[in-house]
Amino acid sequence: MVDAARLKPTVPYVLLGAAAGYLYYVAAHFDYHRREGVLGPDFWPKLVLILVIVTCVYEVAKRLVLGARKEEVGGVLGELVEESARAHGDTALAVPVEHHPWLLVAGMALSVAYVAVIQTLGFFSATVPYIALFIALGGYRRWGVIAAVSLIGALALMFFFMKIVYVSLPIGREPFDQVMLALMQIMAIR
């Protein structure tokens, strides 16, 4: 019986291998006009997918048999950096160990919400609260600075991208578009 400690690290590889298997099935059904003796458009993706599956199977088997990650073959750079830092007793490269999963989820959700509403609210009306909420979420509490940074930042980005780089940023849908249209008029953006 394989214990849970050995099974857990295999999960990403099992999922990746399964996804690769599904994509292989999709690649095998690409719709194209086959030519005798010539490799089709499915050859390259299938080759890559086989390599993904083989690597995943190897990793799963290794983890189930050997368990610990200590014997992993590392990239030369990674080992070089770690060895040198260790030799000098340096902890500057040590990765912070304390995780904040809820902060991460909230940040991701905020970013998804921003993308979801930007076409409805328009760039300015969506960006100002997004920047402000993101900074507040990160633990910064000087509200005056937050307000200034989000307002001035959104205006500066809007001016640069719409007036100088000529990118047509989302204006928004009625009635929210009125904010962007008014600002565009003030900035002489056509």
């Binding site: 890559v48 073959v73 990239g75 750079l77 040198s84 902060l103 940040g107 980005l157 100088i164 780089v165």
Partner: protein, 507 residues
Amino acid sequence: MEGVLSQLALGFVHVFAPANLIALVVGLLAGLLVAVLPGLTLVMGVVLALPFTYKMDVTAAIILLTAMYVSGTYAGAWTSILFRVPGEPIDVPLLWDGYTMARKGQAPQALGWTLLAALFGGLLAATVMVALSHPIAKIALTFSTPEYFAIIFFGLASVVSLGGSSLANALISLFIGLLIATVGVDDTYGAHRFTFGVPILTDGIDYLVVMVGAFGLGEVFSRLDYGFRTAPLETVGTVKTKLPQWRDIAATKASFIRSGVLGVLIGIVPGAGATVASFLSYGVESQYGKRKAEMGRGIPEGIIAPQTAATSSVGGAMIPLITMGIPGSGATAIILGAFLLHGLQPGPQVFQTSSDLVYAVFASLFVAVIGMCLIGYFAAKVIVRVLEFPEVIVSAYVVMCCVLGAFAARNNITDVWLLVVFGVLGYLAERLRFPVPPLVLGVILGPLAEQNFMTTMISFNNDWTVFFTRPVSGPIMAIGVFTLIYPIIRHLRQRAGRPATRHAGRN
């Protein structure tokens, strides 16, 4: 050689055109700030600058990004030496002697050696780049598709072999990148590959979205996960740069030359770059330097070695990019992206089709190195103050630049959704220890690899052995295969050399 020098002179004329000079200064300042700012890495900075170059002239765009790249290898040294805060791994070796010198009250001298090392490394690399690029490009012109595939294979193999803490994870990252590059309508057959009925996927996934998402947004998500906690800064009395005396420089000339040459050579190897150069050069100095026994106790050689090599690796990394279209580092992968965005494919042909641009970029490196040292000498005190800037505010603007960069590429909100997907993927990759650079290089070089592979197969009746039997592609493929298996050999040798007590201790 005369032709090269006259073209280079013309390149200097182009660099001093107002638009290009402004781009260069902006690039230098942005690179210095990126290297100092908390929460921003050099590669991230170059990625975020890319969208701002969309509407620029291609020469100005490449000059800006190159200037950012070179100055980004320099300013991180200030925070390492003064505050013991390495901006990224490049700057870690500078802690060992640079910070020690600062603690002994010799911070101005340490900054002076850093400046000199960056100046020497940068100018040496720029000279080597000019001298070697044209001959290499001439050789590359004789290459056919098997040779190009072999070079790309070698490049991808070295990225996998060097990066990350797990070879298998680096391989998986690379394969995912190669797979992402296949999404869209196939050029030869018009077949829809992995489009799943989503209209925008028929045009493929823009590598820019992958780069910005994985490097930029992914990094911000990682920092959110760590709660934006940065170590408190130590107080520093004065930030001054004191240049060393001539006799001190003469006494350390071997270290300068050794580190400079090593940096250029490492830069040329695809997938290596400033970090490898910095660490390896410090290691070489510790082994062969005149004062090897004193390394780590705050001596100039401990600053010269990593800084000279890091800055000289920039010129080295530009050589395979310009002459063969193969990026030698994460930052050059983005510069390659800028070339492609402006409809230019770097490679041997650019010396014929766009020689003005190539020599302007070469000349810009000379000017950038001198410019960055001047800015460093006079403005380091002001620039290091941005270290006090709250990381969360920087990160909020990083997200904004990511969103705008992705949106501006095709003016399509779907790209922004894809950006979020690749941001999450980038975060998960870092969390699960899958290195991001192989994924990004896979996306960029995937189409080239597939195209050259398929063309070779058609030309040589599906005979794959041709890659190994041709006089040029064969040895390159062999080096590529060796590069790929080298970490395994290294691992096995280390395990064989390890005392048996370790195994006993694990039981």
